[in-house]
Amino acid sequence: MELIFEKTRAGRRAVTLDALDVPDAPLPAQLLRREAAPLPEVSELDVVRHFTHLSQRNFGVDSHFYPLGSCTMKYNPKMAEAVAANAGFRDLHPHLSSSPAGYACCQGAFEVIYETERLLAEISGMRAVSLQPIAGAHGELTGVLLIAAYHRGKGNRKDTIIIPDSAHGTNPASAAIAGFKVVQVPSSPDGTIHLDSFRNVLNDSVAGVMLTCPNTHGLFEPEVRQIADLAHQADALLYYDGANLNAIIGQCRPADLGFDVMHFNLHKTFATPHGMGGPGSGPVGVGDKLAPYLPGPRVVKVDSANCSAGVPPANCGAGVPPANSGAGVSPANCGAGVPPANCGAGVSPANCGAGVSPAFYKLATPEKSIGRIAPFFGNFMIALRAYAYILALGGDGLREVSRHAVLNANYLLARLKAAYKPAFPSGSMHECVLTLSDFAAELDVHALDVAKALLDRGFHAPTIYFPLTVKESMMIEPTETESKQSLDAFAAAMLEIAELARQNPQALHEAPQHLPVGRLDEVKAARELNCAYI
């Protein structure tokens, strides 16, 4: 397939603006670029065909079963897309929130933020949530910065974070980016962390511990509460990586397990689209210890503080004597005889009146806030989709999510056990981990080969070679949105591939054969580094 640049024909263009209806305004030559940017010169149809064809070279959840372990590739409800298409949200300028003058026009958005934060707090048991972090890893970084601020506030000098060897790479990366040293705690052969291993690495220099539960082996950490207690005794805080929340949502809550801080992945548990790798959203939730440090400003709810009974909106407007206006008074809120102190920028006349107590949202920054982690409120349009999802499912629905996520993963494991070896004997929750080390040793068939063979059969492969603690690992997370038929079809393909591995391993080495390209030369890519067509 050609690049869009290769379709350029000089003079072709897709978009033309209306003729300029104000005077031309040239700039001094030394401030200008030498030549126009060498962007494509193509027609709109060129662009549409090109990208339509490109899209047809992709597997997505809408077209393929996508059991990527640790990614929660559940179905993205179209209802959420419809909500996000609302111009009242989509076109809302965030700087309206930069001064109280604009708050009156942000009330719908503020309510979405407030409610989403409140619902996520309830789901997790945390005291407060901030939607500012822009992705899960950003949420991790925020959480670690909160831990750092807490210790600074107490005058502690703790410079280490404990992380299991099975952790997602973002955990140690986030800890390092936030200025901490990382100490690993090993998993035991049964795939969980044992108290003794943990005790060995816990000391006075430990600021925090990052865990997920269930962990990346798909297993609930049985000693999590005890680990939390030990950590707290050493004044270390416990961080929950929310990537696997889909397994336990409605069954137990991170705060109840002893976690002090966590992040959510809205693009995992809360069904917002993965978008080829983003945008996501990684809100952070905190307990009492860290609540004063949350990023700000935050949306807070105010009841009737700015209204005064008896102000008729009809008294505002032209003809109002200046004496009833004042610093901060918008003309629409002036009224004959109304003391200026009862009007204010941001108070809509509709909110005044006898007996009216509207909920009114404004912004406030926590006393010890670490500052800003995002330019505004994080990926608001993603949070909006998650809010719609939470409303649609409700408490009862969210409980069913984890029940069926766990049922589906265990059912699939039961079907696959005949031909594949589970990495751990029992306890899988919403994802199961297989080890193909026997296939590799006996048949020279690796997890990679099985993955490629699945692509040929119309399935996106599960996660392979993660977690690093399992050799030839394959991590399968079907999610609750897949039907039994979908799971059966996948199991059948996996069993057929296992058979083929014995009969004709070479066929697997050559997979995929039915896609636009076969296996690609990654070494050549890294050696030549052709990263731009310029």
Partner: protein, 441 residues
């Protein structure tokens, strides 16, 4: 249950197949004392109700105002084809291209995006995206530090104050020194600095040429980081032409709606020789055994899933779908279209500037040339003006004092190609006609 297809019968069959009596048994690894007994969440509601509730909330956000508000987020024209193509579910329901053979749509579009950004900025390589323009400043600072092994970061007054705030928050626990330097005369402070971060056009809209700053930086062994406004590069001298080492930007102006703060697009581009220290995903061209061209993620050894605590960044999810929108926008506007948009933005802003300058009591603060944004000093508080003008259907601008970036009477006003002459005239008239507050009768 919405989006859970399993029927009661199927559930029984599945439980039988795995030898469990009930789904509850599958949760028996959770200690009973930790199980949730009740929570305060409302029951689920239908799609009809969800949409009705959210439509009502959307209506409360005063839709339909004419926008003269900028400050890093702009109301630009977005061609309909951008939405149409980026809403194809093969794009938006796909994930990170870890299986490249099943993701050539994703990978080729990222390669084309990287190419478009390199061409736009006159730089050599770009990454697949960062979160936004503010976190891009942080990533550029740490990248500069990795390259120079220095920990002093100089912030030029042109830089967006919100981004500076974000930089301080992100570096609070690192041994970085973040220094504000003056607009001129900062050369002595380059000594021992990892980088100087400038913005063009500035947050207040001023256009400058930072070529001399690049020379000064390089003489001191520091990097020049230029934060740019993508649409302005339809006209203005590029970071590459100025000698920048790292070019970063907020990409929202390339086809993303304001969306009350996100998702946006962090853009980063650099020189080839610095590519190994650049954060974020990078796509490279290669081929398969049959010689067919294909694209793969490359230099993954820099990233968190391989390098873990030694990674260049912790970034995992990025803004891929927004990068696609930016690519679509740049293709649809094209070489001539982007130049036209930039010219119209500038010309229309100059026109408004002229009208406001001619209004008694109103002053334009910027001394030199501006692109499409400038600061007006009003006779009274800028936030009052914003409140008043909202009621007349205008988003007047950003009151700078609220961001610590100006005087209480200073308003940052932006004009894009979307504004008609009639809208600009009406806006200028409305400002002039305000008759409440401190001025007018």
């Amino acid at each position: 249950m919405p989006w859970i297809p399993t029927t009661a019968d199927e559930q029984s069959e599945m439980l039988a197949a795995l030898g469990a009596a009930s789904i509850d048994d599958l949760f028996n690894t959770i200690p009973p004392e930790l199980r949730l007994t009740e929570w305060n969440l409302p029951p689920g509601i239908s799609e009809i109700s969800v949409r009705a509730r959210l439509d009502a909330l959307a209506a409360k956000n005063c839709p339909g105002n004419v926008c003269f508000m900028g400050g890093g987020v702009y109301d630009h024209f977005i061609p309909a084809a951008v939405d149409a193509l980026s809403s194809r579910s093969e794009f938006y329901t796909a994930y990170t291209p870890y299986q490249p053979e099943a993701a050539q749509g994703t990978l080729q579009s990222i390669y084309e995006y990287q190419s478009a950004i390199a061409r736009l900025t006159s730089m050599e390589v770009a990454n697949a995206s960062l979160y936004d323009g503010g976190t891009a400043v942080f990533e550029a600072a740490t990248m500069s530090s990795r390259l120079t092994k220095r920990f002093k970061v100089l912030c030029h007054p042109t830089l967006n104050p919100v981004y500076k705030r974000m930089l301080r928050t992100h570096t609070a626990n690192l041994s970085f020194e973040i220094l504000d330097v003056p607009a001129e005369g900062f050369e002595p402070q380059l000594d021992g600095a990892a980088c100087l971060i400038v913005q063009n056009p500035s947050f207040h809209g001023d256009i400058a040429d930072f070529s001399r700053a690049a020379e000064a930086c390089h003489a001191a062994g520091a990097l020049l980081v230029v934060s740019f406004y993508p649409v302005s590069l339809g006209l203005l001298k590029t970071p590459g032409e100025m000698g920048a080492d790292i070019a970063i930007a907020e990409g929202q102006s390339l086809g993303m709606s304001p969306g009350f703060g996100g998702p946006y697009l962090g853009i980063m581009a650099t020189r080839r020789k610095l590519i190994r220290k650049m954060p974020g995903r990078i796509v490279a061209q290669t081929q398969d055994k049959q010689g067919r061209r294909g694209f793969v993620l490359t230099l993954q050894a820099r990233e968190q899933h391989i390098r873990r605590e030694r990674a260049m960044s912790n970034i995992c999810s990025n803004e891929a779908l927004c990068a696609l929108r930016a690519l679509l926008y740049l293709c649809l506007l094209g070489k001539d279209g982007l130049r036209d948009v930039a010219e119209q933005c500038h010309a229309k802003a100059e026109y408004l500037k002229g009208l406001l300058r001619a209004t008694p009591g109103i002053e334009v603060v910027n001394a030199g040339p501006t692109f499409n944004e400038f600061v007006v000093r009003l006779p009274g508080p800028a936030d009052h003006a914003v409140a008043d003008l909202l009621e007349r259907g205008f988003l007047a601008g950003v009151p700078l004092a609220a961001l610590g970036a100006g005087e209480p009477n200073d308003l940052l006003v932006a004009v894009t190609e979307k504004r008609t002459r009639a809208e600009i005239d009406a806006f200028a008239t409305a400002i002039a006609a305000r008759n409440c507050g401190h001025w007018g009768n």
